[in-house]
């Protein structure tokens, strides 16, 4: 059973939603038309990053749920909450991002997983990719990296 997500910026999203899809404004914000309304889980202990990532996702009509620690993230996934996209930071309260990702993958999650982190070496990048992360991105999360992923998840 899908978990009911708290609504995103609904009035703004309604204004932008038309019969064909969802258009995104701005010059740095790459314009795309989404066919579906995607959902994303953002796991980051830092509020500034969490807010920026969620706002960026909202601008593409993605409905988001944010958690600031690994325990809540694992509990959410274990309770059958479903998302199109999961974004995880490496450094988290309770368990580190690598361990959280491993546990989420062991539960059997098959959605797109993004590791979005401030700094890391090649060995860490390889470690995350080896346990099931699809894409490894250095912060900040930006449209250049996000848009191709959204297109893929949207089936474009």
């Amino acid at each position: 059973m899908a978990h009911t997500l708290p609504s995103s910026d609904q009035s703004s999203d309604q204004d932008k939603w038309d019969s064909g899809g969802l258009e995104c404004k701005g010059q740095l914000l790459i314009k795309i038309v989404m066919r579906n309304r995607l959902t994303a889980l953002v796991v980051d202990g830092d509020t500034t990053c969490w807010v920026q990532e969620q706002e960026l996702l909202h601008s593409y009509g993605v409905q988001t749920l944010g958690v600031d620690n690994s325990r809540d993230a694992v509990d959410l996934i274990a309770s059958d909450a479903e998302f199109n996209l999961i974004i995880i930071e490496k450094i988290l309260p309770v368990l580190n991002g690598l361990e959280v990702t491993r546990q989420i993958c062991e539960i059997g999650v098959r959605c797109k997983m993004l590791e979005v982190t401030a700094c890391s070496g090649e060995s860490e990048r390889q470690a995350f990719l080896a346990i099931g992360v699809d894409v490894f991105i250095e912060k900040p999360l930006d449209p250049e990296h996000l848009v191709p992923i959204l297109r893929e998840v949207d089936g474009q």
């Binding site: 910026d9 009035s11 703004s12 204004d15 404004k25 701005g26 010059q27 740095l28 914000l29 980051d44 202990g45 830092d46 509020t47 500034t48 990053c49 807010v51 920026q52 990532e53 706002e55 960026l56 601008s59 930071e89 490496k90 450094i91 982190t117 401030a118 700094c119 912060k139 900040p140 930006d142 449209p143």
Partner: protein, 139 residues
């Protein structure tokens, strides 16, 4: 917004870019701001300063403890780099990367705090100007 107000605002923000305090990420934040979320930039910057002030306090405590817990310090600097890059605080972000070098010299804390404080003053001036421009628009 009247023309004079807009020109001032543009000059102010351009100066912050020219001096290397802000990067393109800040423009992206401005583009995310809309009628439904009209104060997004100011809110996220305020959030950054609340969070980063706490982080700096933690960094201070860690640096003052003996022996220094470098693993914890690394985690704090990781968070600091992440949140400063998220708001486009270019100089603060790049100084996080050289933090360790100064750590060895014993004056890392002062250096990071200095850059953090300088950026704060400049961003406060920017928001003050935006407020004045908004008032000018209504009069």
């Amino acid at each position: 917004m009247d023309r004079y107000g807009m020109q001032n605002q543009i000059a102010c923000i351009r100066s912050l870019f020219d001096q290397g305090y802000l990067d393109e990420q800040f423009i992206q934040l401005e583009e995310l701001q809309d009628d439904a979320n009209p104060n997004f930039v100011q809110e996220i910057v305020t959030l950054f300063y609340t969070d980063s002030t706490r982080l700096i306090q933690n960094i201070e405590l860690t640096l003052n403890s003996r022996p220094i817990n470098f693993s914890k310090l690394d985690d704090y600097m990781h968070q600091f780099k992440g949140s400063s890059s998220s708001i486009g605080a270019k100089k603060v972000t790049s100084e996080c990367a050289v933090f360790r070098q100064y750590c060895a010299a014993g004056n890392a804390e002062a250096y990071i705090k200095q850059e953090h404080a300088i950026l704060r003053k400049k961003l406060e001036f920017y928001f003050q100007m935006m407020g004045q421009a908004a008032v000018a628009q209504t009069t």
